[in-house]
Symmetry: C2
Subunit: 328 residues, 2 copies
């Protein structure tokens, strides 16, 4: 008898999906959001659960837990190019939880929602033994603007918004018990890329899109599987987070590129774009203050290759997956 | 410092609501669902969490957990008169959970969704120490058909769909370890009243509506507060569930009327209707096979009175509330 720890989260989700009866007017299996037809739009719906066991470092404040819950859900709306309509948040909390904790947790959810132009419209509270939080975000997008995970084509440019590895830098700062709030903020208060997602969707230039919640390598492996393509990623092109330098390497004995490639939690967008559309898209994003970096190309051969000093290596799949143990 | 066990679930939710920034185009604070403007319709959204600690009797099968999760969310859509568009379900599960458990849990969610004409469109799985399940249902309703909790008017008839106390009968059957699946089914596999809600909404006759998840007395106290009215309930008029008879009384030493008044989990609809509209509404519901019973009237005086053998008593508020201890 297999248990969830043997299956891992992704196989568990595959098992679930095979059982479910599919709706006539929905798409989005394996995508960041479900997309349900409503006239000329899709209603986007996504849900994420956080538990004390897997997601909540002991240094995370109740405010940050609330922020995080809302941010990771909005990130899925962002990855499809959508505009959020609202969220519902459910709090499973031990009965000894203080009123102050509840207040700060709620303030965190509200602050993140308001920061990104939306609101918390409902929720639930229940008694649990450990903190378990569940958020659901919903939004809309015009059908012809929806950015699916499916559509990457050989020859497309692979690009990411922002920088990579900043959540990893925050993780190591926390691990060393450093009181560097700015560093840990990238890990504990991620910024969903809603503006970036909307801009990309309006250009109609993206052939596939997902968020980097699980880290670059894990995300590339998911895109590879769903698109039946491969990738060549140029290690030197990766936009490293500002703290990922030689000093970081020496101090923590961790390769900065390993964090940029494998550590999750950056919540940037990973997209593929036909080469003829890339430069204009990049320029327009830059005019809106968004860093947008080409990091490789989509290939016909179904392998994920890392180009490093002129040599090609197979990129290992090391992303974070729940239920299973992992390297970090 | 107050803790959640001192506050109780309802006060905790009030605390949350005061912190949240309200959306411009939403209504539904204190209602079963949030309602968000989308043209001439509302998008209805509701979320409910179940935890091993409070909601999952040890006799409940994984299939029933899944069914229950979907049913209680659809019940909130039903209470507003809505048509479901879909659900997302998140499973917080211990890592030792078997693949079979996951399969049956998923089958239960799917069976309930399909039985009521909708589908599960997405979800999440996370590792937790105890089973914690979170569902979110969404649906639509024409604006002029939306059945709010607010609107009860003195003189209105108070009515309920179906029968009362059947979940209570199921609870006592389980407590005695009876293998009477039919009895416990009412408790463990509730039926959301979507058909009933749609019919009532189409008549435009209802002045206020909510589901009976928390039991009749608790629900009346919630309606009383939000509407600034009172109620006179006729004890003899209560439509008792079929198992709630003298034999049940003798066997369990529990007053059948106490179960009908205070035990939650029936998931029937509680509505108020102007007297001139009542008979026609009742007749049409009966033509659709729905039992619809007047149980009292809305009063100006802000008290909830139980009429019993010609005498009037104050009805105590004994509904189930999480975090706080209760009588059952």
């Amino acid at each position: 008898m297999k248990r969830l720890e043997d299956l891992g989260e992704r196989v568990a989700i595959q098992r679930i999906v095979t059982i479910l009866t599919k709706g006539k007017n929905t798409l989005g299996n394996g995508d960041d959001c479900a997309a349900i037809e409503m006239g000329n739009k899709y209603l986007l719906v996504t849900t994420d659960m956080m538990s004390q066991r897997t997601h909540i470092p002991k240094q995370m404040t109740p405010y940050q837990m609330g922020w995080f819950l809302v941010a990771i859900n909005l990130s899925d709306i962002a990855a499809k190019g959508g505009t959020p309509l609202g969220l519902v948040c459910s709090f499973g909390l031990p009965k000894k939880t203080s009123e102050t904790f509840l207040k700060e947790l709620t303030e965190g959810t509200n602050a993140c929602a308001v920061r990104f132009g939306t609101t918390i419209v409902g929720g639930d509270t229940k008694e649990t033994t450990q903190i378990t939080l569940c958020g659901t975000a919903f939004g809309t997008i015009k059908k012809d603007e929806f950015m699916s995970r499916i559509g990457a084509h050989p020859g497309d440019v692979v690009a990411v918004t922002g920088t990579l590895g900043k959540a990893g830098v925050g993780y190591y700062a926390l691990k060393r018990n450093k009181k560097e709030k700015k560093l840990s903020k990238a890990l504990l208060e991620p910024q969903p890329r809603l503006k970036e997602g909307r801009l990309l969707a309006q250009f109609h230039s993206v052939t596939s899109s997902m968020d980097l919640s699980d880290g670059l390598s894990a995300s590339l492996y998911q895109l590879q599987e769903i698109n039946a393509v491969g990738f060549e990623i140029d290690k030197d092109a990766l936009p490293l987070a500002s703290g990922l330098n030689q000093q970081f390497h020496a101090e923590h004995d961790v390769d900065p590129y390993s964090l940029a490639l494998h550590f999750g939690g950056d919540y940037e967008l990973l997209v593929t774009i036909p080469p003829r559309k890339f430069e204009k898209t990049k320029r327009t994003l830059q005019e809106h203050g968004v860093t947008f970096t080409p990091i490789g190309t989509v290939t016909q051969k179904r392998k994920i290759i890392l180009l490093e000093n002129g040599t090609k290596k197979l990129l290992p799949n090391k992303g974070y997956e729940h239920f299973k143990k992992h390297d970090f």
